[in-house]
């Protein structure tokens, strides 16, 4: 393993194990602030709790270039406390399917107190019970307190709850842990931040990306970028029996450019140029919609979505290949160079206002596919 590989693993482990349910990203933000403080030219905090960090490059672009990653993770809020001391919890925006939660470990983010989703002993269940998952709107967290009075000493309504998941460094250059959906992108931005860059670049670490994209929209409005890149992940369904149509991406095949997220498209020319080297194209429709946030907050910008494949999304064991994460960092470095060059060539006032809504037609791209 190279030094840079080890450094990346340590960084991702730290980020993965931090708690930051949407709207409660403070731990992650403060970590990133400390990480970047030494070499940032400027750091701004948005009113929505995001962090905008400027890193000087060799040249200044004609208009700002921004790379954005979310800081939040899928999680829950405490909704109430039962008389027997269990916490009623609610997933933020259907964060997890019921099949993933049954019997799993959770953690109260505020005080690190751990608990579990009850899983009644199989011996006591009926056949009907064994055949169905409990509805997610009846989710409980058992913190082994015997009354609401005891539970209220350690938990309050509104407290954020995260998966309690360990980070694993696996053999064969693979890693596993929770919250990879946003923390891999954060680790890629922080790794790139430490490199010497061709152009000045804004690194936006945004909030609430998993519950709409208000954090990304806000960053777009504050920075008024000429090029805005959303950095996220793409679902790798590279499992036995999954057809090529459905598999999305595969571990080990590299990070790439997403032609679209659920609502927005990468800019056609930007994508083609940035991918010229060797990048792959994905058609990404992962749960989140971060590129859309820029469509809303920076409609004038050339948009691009850069994604890294992750397997078992929204589980305690999201799995990724280090080589993919590293290739994403390299791709982003290329993207910054391309963005600077495109902005140098572009007319002063952009007349290509449709860039956000036009499908890219890169290699393998599906030109003419309808929007939704």
């Amino acid at each position: 393993m190279t030094d840079s590989g080890e450094k990346l693993i340590a960084l991702l482990k730290t980020l993965s194990e931090l708690s930051g349910v949407s709207n409660f990203e403070d731990e992650v933000r403060e970590y990133i602030r400390d990480f970047t403080a030494g070499s940032a030219a400027e750091i701004r905090e948005t009113d929505l709790g995001g962090l905008l960090v400027l890193k000087k490059g060799r040249k200044s672009p004609k208009q700002p270039i921004v790379l954005a990653a979310g800081m939040d993770e899928a999680g829950f809020l405490v909704k109430g406390i039962e008389s027997d001391g269990k916490l009623r919890i609610e997933a933020v925006d259907e964060a997890f399917p019921p099949s993933v939660l049954f019997g799993k470990r959770l953690k109260l983010a505020r005080n690190g107190l751990r608990g579990v989703v009850p899983a009644k002993a199989i011996h006591l269940t009926t056949r009907e019970e064994r055949g169905k998952y409990p509805e997610t709107d009846k989710l409980l967290m058992d913190i082994s307190r015997d009354s609401d009075k005891d539970a209220e000493k350690v938990a309050r309504v509104g407290d954020p709850v995260v998966l309690d998941a360990e980070f694993f460094e696996l053999a064969g250059g693979r890693v596993a842990g929770k919250a990879f959906e946003t923390r891999i992108p954060c680790s890629q931005l922080l790794t790139l931040f430490e490199r010497e860059l061709p152009y000045d670049t804004w690194f936006a670490f945004t909030t609430r990306t998993l519950i709409g994209s208000s954090g990304t929209t806000s960053a777009g409005r504050m920075l008024k970028p000429g090029a805005a890149v959303s950095v996220s992940v793409v679902q790798a369904l590279d499992l036995p029996g999954v057809s090529a149509h459905e598999r999305g991406a595969a571990l080990g095949e590299g990070a790439g450019i997403a032609i679209r997220d659920r609502y927005a498209f990468s800019d056609r020319a930007f994508a083609r140029e940035a991918a010229a080297a060797h990048a792959r194209f994905f058609s990404s429709d992962v749960i989140s919609a971060r590129l859309y946030g820029f469509l809303e907050g920076a409609p004038q910008a050339k948009l691009l979505e850069v994604d890294t494949p992750v397997r078992h999304l929204r589980t305690p064991f999201e799995t990724a290949a280090l080589s993919d994460i590293e290739s994403g960092v390299d791709l982003l470095e290329t993207v910054v160079a391309c963005a600077g060059e495109i902005l140098e060539r572009a007319p002063e006032s952009g007349d290509e206002t449709l860039t956000g809504t036009e499908p890219a037609d890169g290699p393998g791209g599906k030109a003419g596919e309808g929007d939704e």
Binding site: S99, G103, K104, A119, Y133, R174, A176, H312
Partner: protein, 364 residues
């Protein structure tokens, strides 16, 4: 005996239970758990060994010629899964041993390989993860995340996997983790062994402490111990349910060991245990078993010419799940109860007037 264990004792129990809970011992491959169990018994027994079946057997001799043998047993195997096949892509097919299949998707396991290496792996999600129907085991895979060639090199058909996740203290004196069924009861037995040594008491029988294998598939491990030693008394320590809403309410977390009455439990012995608990003021519960206890006692009582058994349970929540919950205090109290019971019990108690044909328990 209403005092709580001291902070120091609690910490020691937590350390020992962590070692037991973290040791590998899925039914069929209990060697890791056996090694920890043997280490725990060694300081307090005259002799301890792992027998041909993999059972851990520790003995405290009475010094009396032809002394009767009393066995105090807890099983050391645990539920888990076993690898049944490896796909071209390096994903593992598997079958389960005693699990609720609802627990599987997204659950992290630890595979024990042939070389003794431990490899983490996760169960894949159903194709429609949001469906409320529980997926069939045959549609799920265990994924190590490793590239296929590495998987094929390290993992083999037949390898076992246990729930991953270290033991932790979930609330004051309450612990949460895997395999507490039945390693917690083994710890009660080890507490008994330690207290017996400390007390210097001389007992009228050779005392055997056993940690037996394969209870989850019917108890052949315990049967082998019983057949080999022909004890006059076999006390099975095994966990019992304390789920809210379960009808049996004579037991609760933190309420002390629960003494089983009926079923595989000999009436005279269980009453003697109950009287000991009352006399020594040891917190305890009781519960009725009308037929089979589902413990090693069920197998052992029909071993050889029939062996007198009793069942004592330690209350446990979410049995067979990755995160079982129980009270450290209950474990200590169960050990204390065993010490005082063994000190008071007379082997011929209840045997007077015994005639062949007088069945024990129900069933006739």
């Amino acid at each position: 005996m209403t005092d709580y264990i001291t902070e120091e004792e609690k910490n020691a129990l937590f350390e020992q239970l962590s070692a037991l809970s973290g040791a590998f011992g899925v039914t069929g491959n209990e060697y890791g758990a056996a090694a920890v169990a043997e280490r725990l018994l060694a300081p307090y027994t005259d002799e301890v060994r792992t027998d041909k079946r993999g059972n851990v057997v520790g003995i405290v001799r009475s010094g009396i010629e032809d002394a009767p043998v009393w066995v105090f047993d807890a099983h050391i195997d645990q539920v888990g899964v076993q690898v049944t096949g490896i796909s071209d892509e390096g994903f593992l097919g598997f079958t389960d041993i005693g699990l609720d299949e609802r627990l599987l998707p997204g659950q992290v396991f630890s595979i024990a390989t042939r070389t003794g290496e431990r490899i983490p792996a996760v169960v894949t999600l159903p194709r429609d993860p949001f469906a409320l129907d529980v997926p069939s085991l045959h549609t799920l895979w265990l994924d190590t995340g490793m590239p296929a060639e590495l998987v094929k090199e390290r993992v083999h058909i037949g390898d076992f996997a246990a729930f991953a996740g270290a033991l932790y203290e979930i609330a004051e004196g309450r612990v949460c983790g895997p395999a507490l069924d039945d390693r917690s009861c083994f710890l009660s037995i080890a507490c008994f062994a330690r207290r017996l040594k400390e007390s210097g008491a001389r007992l009228p029988a050779d005392i055997v402490f056993s940690g037996t294998v394969r209870e989850e598939i019917g108890g052949p491990g315990a049967a082998a111990v019983a057949a080999g030693l022909n004890p006059s008394l076999f006390v099975a320590l095994d966990v019992c349910h304390v789920e809210p809403g379960s009808k049996e309410d004579g037991k609760r977390l933190g309420g002390g060991p629960a003494i089983a009455l009926g079923g595989d439990s000999d009436d005279v012995v269980s009453k003697a245990i109950l009287e000991t608990a009352r006399a020594k003021d040891i917190p305890h519960g009781t519960y009725a078993i009308t037929y089979a206890s589902g413990t090693n006692a069920g197998t052992v009582r029909v071993t050889g010419e029939g062996i007198r058994c009793a069942v004592i349970s330690v209350p446990l929540l979410y049995m067979h799940a990755p995160n079982e919950i129980m009270s450290l205090q209950d474990i200590a109290w169960a050990g204390e109860l065993l010490l005082h019971f063994a000190t008071r019990f007379k082997d011929d108690e209840g045997r007077r007037g015994y005639r062949a044909g007088d069945g024990e328990g129900g069933g006739k």
